[in-house]
């Protein structure tokens, strides 16, 4: 096997275009994924038309003013605004593709909010126009703008609550309020109760006012108690809910590390399968296969050599690729030896699948094309999210994915990169079994097709 390996490495060394592609391809993928993961998403272009006249964007809640227009700046910070001067221009900007969406703030929005807050009447509405040509972009913009509008809603709610709580405190404890530009002293329930209690104490025992004033004190006590509870209750409504996240299946792979794992395994798959299938086909296209297996090497030795060659080269390339990716994404270097083990076993399994393909193709180009055509659905099936399909189809896809090395290789390298559950052991065993199975199939295929 040693001499065959050396021979194949010599052939690869004299095929600079092929080797260059095999090296450049995964590194290019690594760089693209790294840059994509490390760059924040771009701001969408949104046409923005604010019909609220300058200075009219304020509403009054209790004795406080709320500047609704100020919240628009939050929305503008998350988009690339295209300022337009009419609703028609806003719609035209979306139609002709200059903007992914248009937001129109109606002139009556502050009044609508004011009416809703103070009287419970009104339906403040912001108009949103979306470009439906690109569903992905549409979804992104829709979610982003909806989130921003939700922020405005929350801000208004909070402010209303803050005013309500403040007013309640003034009703309870008294204070100074502004009415028509004049400062008016508010007595407050507690002060009123104290005054009434003092009056009661100074009244003669048989005074007919005593009964009535005691009723006033009783009412004041009840009101003070009730309003005392109201403030914290209103405050709690104004606070957003806190989500207590519990992970039941151990640590999950960070999204960026998982994306890196996918990139590395896709490269491992392509490099290994193309190399294994192609180098085996070389033996037949050069007519050397029959000469080799008439006593010089056994078919099993020849196939093993191709699997080791392809797996070894792909492992080396993808280890370098993972190192490049780790410049952008956090990968656990303390588990480096597990990276190598996962990639090596993945390489052997993909290599065995590659020689099984190469065994049925006589020409290098046919073998490469077949390897490519098999690779794509193998990766696709393994990457379909479980919740994206119905139960029966999911079972079928899981069964198919189980028969190929992509999924276990992805699980193994994900675990190696970040130490996540369910661990690396089972995927490695799975890969080893697949390597043996595909190696066996390749041997049978060589016997069946070698004479063609």
């Amino acid at each position: 096997m040693r001499w065959l390996l050396i021979k194949d490495l010599q052939i690869l060394r004299r095929s600079p275009l092929l080797v260059g592609l095999l090296i450049v391809y995964p590194i290019a993928i690594a760089l693209m994924i790294g840059l994509a993961l490390s760059s924040p998403p771009g701001k969408p272009k949104v046409a923005f038309y604010d019909q609220v006249p300058p200075g009219q964007g304020k509403i009054r809640i209790g004795n406080q003013q709320l500047n609704v227009a100020g919240y628009a700046s939050d929305l503008l910070s998350s988009i690339q605004p295209i300022k337009v001067h009419s609703q028609a221009q806003a719609i035209a900007a979306v139609r002709d593709g200059r903007a992914l969406a248009a937001v129109v703030i109606p002139a009556a929005l502050p009044q609508e909010i004011q009416s809703l807050v103070t009287q419970g009447v009104g339906r403040p509405t912001v108009q949103l126009y979306l470009n439906t040509r690109n569903p992905l972009e549409r979804q992104f913009v829709d979610q982003d703008i909806s989130a921003r509008i939700n922020q405005v809603e929350q801000a208004v709610s909070k402010q209303v609550l803050r005013v309500a709580v403040s007013d309640l405190q003034e009703v309870l404890n008294g204070g100074t309020v502004q009415v028509l530009g004049q400062h008016v002293q508010l007595l407050g329930l507690r002060n009123a109760r104290t005054i009434v209690e003092g009056t009661l104490a100074s009244l003669p025992a048989g005074s007919p006012l005593r009964v009535a004033l005691r009723q006033v004190v009783g009412f004041a006590n009840l009101a003070i108690q009730g309003l005392g509870f109201a403030s914290p209750v209103l405050g709690s409504i104004g606070s957003p809910l806190t989500v207590d996240e519990t992970q039941l299946a151990g640590r999950t792979t960070p999204t960026a590390a998982y994306a890196a794992a996918i990139a590395v395994i896709v490269s491992l798959m392509f490099v290994t399968m193309l190399l294994a299938a192609g180098m085996l086909a070389v033996e037949r296209s050069e007519n050397a296969y029959a000469r080799l297996v008439r006593g010089l090497v056994t078919p099993a030795e020849l196939l093993s050599e191709k699997i080791v060659l392809a797996g070894g080269c792909a492992t080396a390339v993808t280890v370098v690729m993972a190192a490049c990716v780790s410049l952008f994404v956090h990968l656990d270097w303390a588990r480096f030896e597990l990276w190598v083990v996962a990639l090596a076993l993945g390489g052997l399994a993909f290599g065995a699948l590659g020689v099984a393909i190469g065994a049925v193709a006589r020409e290098v180009s046919a073998a490469s094309l077949m390897a490519f055509l098999v690779s794509l659905p193998v990766a696709f099936i393994a990457l379909v999210p479980g919740n994206a399909v119905s139960g029966a189809l999911r079972t079928v896809l899981d069964a198919i994915a189980f028969l190929f090395p992509f999924k276990p290789a992805l699980q193994a390298i994900s675990s190696a990169f970040s130490g996540t559950a369910p661990g690396i052991g089972l995927p490695l065993v799975h890969l080893a079994v697949l390597a043996l199975v595909f190696g066996g199939l390749a041997t049978v295929a060589m016997r069946r097709f070698a004479g063609r």
Partner: protein
């Protein structure tokens, strides 16, 4: 240069008894038996589909016969397939070295030097095989078959893709092998080469061995013009229903 007239056949080099082979139920070789003597140059001839390549493949150990046996193991027989079986990205010397190592020869480098000298390719030793002419590629192809110095060499249509000059040089080379003691068996469609070089002819048709003898004996068998082996061959097959 040695020719049929100058060859001196000696002891048995290879014996085949009752060889049979079928592909998918269709017989490709039926009960074929013969003996080859040392230093003999034997031509296997016959129409397309006669079983020539199947017979050579069985003698080479590339195919296992369904029935019959050989008295010499395949490892002691050199085999040169019709299409050069070598790596075009490797140099002449690298190809020879690779196969010498795979043959587990005691001194691969010595074998490489010997074959380079024997094929006259020393000057092209470091040249990639893919850049050689068809004739030189065939010489490397034959050299690989001869690395282990086998007593019997099988050549499958060795001159099929060569021009007349290359063909002439090939036969000079083969004649030197005969002179060196090697038994050479070759398949061909070129009757002129058979007439000129072969000591003996094995005539196959539909998997059956119809005739074994010298070219002259084949001509005598049909009573034709002793100077026209091709006509004799056609008449012989016609007389036997082929």
């Amino acid at each position: 240069m040695s020719t049929a007239a100058s060859a001196k056949p000696q002891a048995t080099a290879l014996g085949a008894r009752s060889l049979a082979k079928s592909f998918g139920g269709r017989p490709a070789l039926r009960n074929v038996s013969f003996e080859l003597r040392a230093r003999e140059l034997v031509a296997i001839v016959g129409p397309n589909g006669a079983g020539k390549t199947t017979l050579l493949s069985i003698l080479a150990g590339v195919l296992a016969p369904d029935d019959g046996e050989l008295d010499r193991p395949a490892g002691e027989i050199g085999w040169v397939p019709q299409q050069p079986a070598l790596y075009s990205k490797l140099s002449v010397a690298e190809n020879l070295r690779l196969f010498a190592r795979l043959e587990r020869l005691a001194d691969p480098e010595a074998a490489v030097k010997r074959m380079l000298a024997q094929t006259g390719l020393q000057a092209r030793a470091d040249e990639e095989v893919g850049r050689l002419s068809g004739g030189n590629r065939q010489r490397v192809n034959i050299a690989i078959g001869l690395l282990a110095a086998p007593p019997v060499l099988l050549l499958d249509e060795p001159s099929a893709s060569l021009d007349p000059r290359q063909r002439e040089r090939l036969w000079e080379f083969i004649s030197e092998l005969i002179d060196g003691g090697t038994t050479v068996v070759f398949s061909t469609h070129n009757v002129a080469e058979v007439e000129r070089y072969a000591n003996r002819v094995l005539l196959l048709a539909d998997g059956e061995l119809l005739f074994t003898g010298t070219p002259a004996q084949l001509e005598q068998a049909v009573g034709g013009d002793p100077r026209d082996l091709e006509a004799a061959l056609v008449d012989f097959l016609h007389q036997r229903g082929h």
